[in-house]
């Protein structure tokens, strides 16, 4: 980033290449639409480039990046909420091939883990579980799971205290466990 700050465009290309997959994945799992995810990732990189002169290496670059990403995702979700045009469920938005929800949400009494052999079905089940989380819970979960960020770093990216992140992730993981109870129940 310091090279980018000095006007090195190649360094910026490298930076985009290094973070693009991670960033698009976060946006995709937040918003459920690949096109929107790529647009937002580009917007995020543009903002970083435009803010390069003010960058100070006092915080981790990734934390700064995800702070911008979090703000963009929040604004986009608010915009979606106002327009009511895009469903947050990826499959409802038509961007993911999948089976209808009633076929993927398991009958808790009937479905067993063995039924989840099909990875696509498992993916849909997990995505459904993710959509039961609040926006902030989802972002915290994704940053922790995908980016392996500490509570302190997540707090910095989301403007929360580490204690608030701890509470947020605890509730998020409780919610996930409840949503996925049919698949995570101990067999013994």
């Amino acid at each position: 980033m310091l090279r980018v700050k000095e006007g090195d465009e190649d360094a910026f290309s490298e930076l985009v290449a290094n973070y693009q997959s991670r960033l698009v994945s976060i946006f995709y799992n937040m918003l459920g639409n690949r096109e929107t995810a790529e647009d937002l990732a580009q917007e995020c990189f543009l903002r970083i480039y435009q803010a390069r002169n003010g960058y100070e290496p006092t915080a981790k670059f990734a934390t700064w990046l995800y702070r911008i990403a979090n703000n963009l995702a929040s604004n986009t979700r608010r915009s979606f909420g106002r327009r009511k045009e895009v469903s947050l469920n990826a499959r409802d938005s038509g961007m993911m091939e999948s089976t209808p929800r009633e076929q993927t949400v398991p009958d808790k009494s009937a479905l067993m883990p063995t039924r989840l052999a099909d990875s696509r079905e498992t993916c849909d089940v997990v995505r459904d579980a993710l959509t039961t989380l609040s926006e902030r819970q989802r972002m915290a979960v994704l940053l922790h799971k995908f980016e392996e960020m500490s509570y302190a770093d997540i707090g910095e990216a989301m403007d929360l205290s580490p204690a608030a992140v701890k509470s947020l992730l605890s509730r998020a993981r409780d919610n996930l466990r409840e949503s996925l109870v049919a698949y995570v129940r101990p067999t013994g």
Binding site: E9, F12, S13, V16, A17, Q20, S21, V24, S25, Y28, N29, R34, A37, E38, A41, Q42, F45, L46, Y49, M96, S119, T122, C123, V125, V126, R127, A129, L130, V141, H144, K145, F146, S150, Y151, P162, K166, S167, L169, S170, R173, D174, L176, R177, S179, L180, V181, Y183, V184, R185, P186
Partner: protein
């Protein structure tokens, strides 16, 4: 801790933090003691872990190498647009400044012209104001008749005679003929 023991909210939050390796040594020891004595807590931890592991099935999107090129192209387009917009703004600012200076000069010329006209062209009103002290005592000046008569009065110290108006029989020099 027995099987039926329920965990507090804080203990549940600590269970997750324990799984995430976010507890300090004392808290970790405390949670491990709780887990050792509570099959329910161990079951909770197991389910939390399994649910967390299921998130590995979430899709990771690879936008491809093309994404980098598209992002850089978009960046250049934005920068060019910004530069053009900045140049347009500079032209507009220059023109506005020029127009403002021109208008300012014109206004100054108009004001200066009006001011000069007011103070250089004679006006009846201004003359009347200037002559007002004379006009105010015009009757007295007319009664005096002439400057020589007034000078004669002064030479005879008649202005100092406070009884002048009370003693009309005092002999006065002969006034000017009307």
């Amino acid at each position: 801790m027995g099987k039926a023991t329920r965990l507090t909210v804080e203990q549940r939050a600590n269970l997750v933090a324990y799984l995430d390796g976010e507890l300090d040594e004392a808290e970790t020891r405390s949670i491990e003691e709780t887990l050792a004595g509570s099959p329910a807590a161990r079951r909770d931890v197991e389910m939390l872990s399994r649910a967390w592991d299921m998130l590995d099935h979430l899709p990771r999107v690879d936008p491809g190498e093309d994404f980098t090129h598209r992002t850089i192209s978009r960046l250049r387009a934005v920068e060019v647009n910004k530069a053009q917009s900045s140049a347009r703004w500079q032209v507009w600012a220059r023109r506005t400044l020029f127009a403002a200076l021109w208008l300012g000069g014109l206004s100054a010329a108009v004001v200066g012209g009006v001011y000069a006209a007011v103070w250089t062209i004679p006006s009846e009103g201004r003359n009347m104001i200037r002559d007002y002290p004379v006009v105010e005592k015009l009757h007295e000046y007319e009664a005096a008749g002439s400057l020589e008569f007034l000078q004669e009065l002064e030479r005879h110290h008649k202005f100092e005679d406070s009884s002048l108006t009370d003693t009309p029989e005092v002999e006065l020099p002969e006034g000017p003929s009307q």
